[in-house]
Amino acid sequence: MQASRAAQDLFEQHGAAVYRFATVLLHHQQDAEDVVQETFLKLLHHLTAGGDATNLRGWLFTVAAHAARDRQRRRARWIPWAQVHDPRVAPPQLPDEDGRLRAARAALHRLPNRDRLLLALRAQELSYRDIAVASGIRPSSVGRLLARALDRWGRECSSTAPAGPGQKIKTERHGLI
């Protein structure tokens, strides 16, 4: 009962962040919801079993990242009869009047899965060590791969960024976009 209460409290604290994280990774609302639910049910089991509670935020994103990766693999193998049977659900509309955020998020979805995962994990302020665990890469490679992912994202943004002041993202090597 105590574990259940704790899991619900953690869901209140981190549920929205995990949901956003899963949505960014999967671009599929139903799959994202599945990942979130699976993650917090695993958290409940983890707490019930007396698991380590020292870094639960990192733990949550690691579990969510693994669940999302499983979903991506399943989706890759899923053979829809026709596209009409496998509709991608557009993410909810954001308060993004100028289209800048929308373009930036669209650019994220054009990145390879690993790049998107690394950027999404870093956006949760996870340490390189936690990112390495969640993404399954060596800790010593995290910085290099993150830098590349960020550069790729910047290039993607520059190829589609809307024009106009206040909508520019400064990149290190590519100037204003």
């Binding site: 259940s4 139903q30 089991h45 009869w81 340490s127 910085g143 960020l150």
Partner: protein
Amino acid sequence: MKCLNDAQIQAIVDREAGDDVRQHAESCGHCGDRVRGRQALAAAAVEAINAPSGIPPDFSRRVHFALSEGSNPGATRLRATVARGGSSRPALWTVAAVTAATLIAVLFVAPIVKGPATVSASEILAKSASRLAERVTGIESLEYELVLDGMTREMMPDHENGTYRMKQVIDHDTAGRYLLATYDPSGALVSSIVQDPAANRRVVSARVEDVPYRFEFTLPDNVTLSPPELERLHMGASVAMMQASGNQQLQVIEGAAGRQYRIEVPHVSAESSGAVWDLAEAQVVIDADDYHIVAFAVKGTFLKQPYSLSYRLINRTIAAGTAVQPGLFDLPQDPGAITIKGEGTAIPARDVLVSALGELARARQARQ
């Protein structure tokens, strides 16, 4: 110290760099500019990733419910208690029976469960049964989760897990035109069947020991009930059995999908009835708006073999019949598949077996 590489610049931005690296960036104008440029880029990425998008309230309620319930969401709840023991044997009528099986359900609708309602369970079941019997027009697409155990599980070609995701499309305006696909939990296609009387074609595909097979048949003059129609009949019959029971328990559920009725019958048929088909327990969740079945679960015996079945509807859409897309009722060709062609009968499973044996005999003759 030489100027920093990209990983070191990134590490500074991420507050993961060592002292020597940070000190260099502070003393080197070029590297300092790079750090600031990368900080701006990273901030923009974080903003895009963490852009405020709230968690859907109904989903939040479902998760809270699942966490308060303890665990085990989903349609597998009956599986833990399904009767075991007794022999089970695969049978030729498998496909029809199993697809018909698609009916069951333990539900994990999570929402808020209210107390007993004044509306009659029998009345709801009757309306649901009437709806099942109603004529539908257009193209109906269903996606659902199916969990099998006992006899029905043994009958599936891959019965390691017993959990499947099904996709079904029925053209209600063209008799006998449908497709039915079965996926395992990993999303891999287990088997599929497509029938299109307009093209005089039925195609069955399956993968056995990693070898893909494709069976193409012409259709007989009289096409009998399709698996989706059998499913519908089986569900209707089960609901009728529940309706006949005097021990229905009804709950009204107010959830994300609106009001639903959950009806449970702890024991449907008499003990030791010796009936061909005997339901020990049954549960159904019915949408209160149009009385369609959202989830369904039964356990019992068929031909004295224990089985359980649970069904949870994931998606259901109906489109106008004029909107049939080219290729919708066809299977994509797998270049590596062994293709066998023949004349079909009313029983797809029989056709597959007979045509496969025929090919085997021809292959043997060719070797001699």
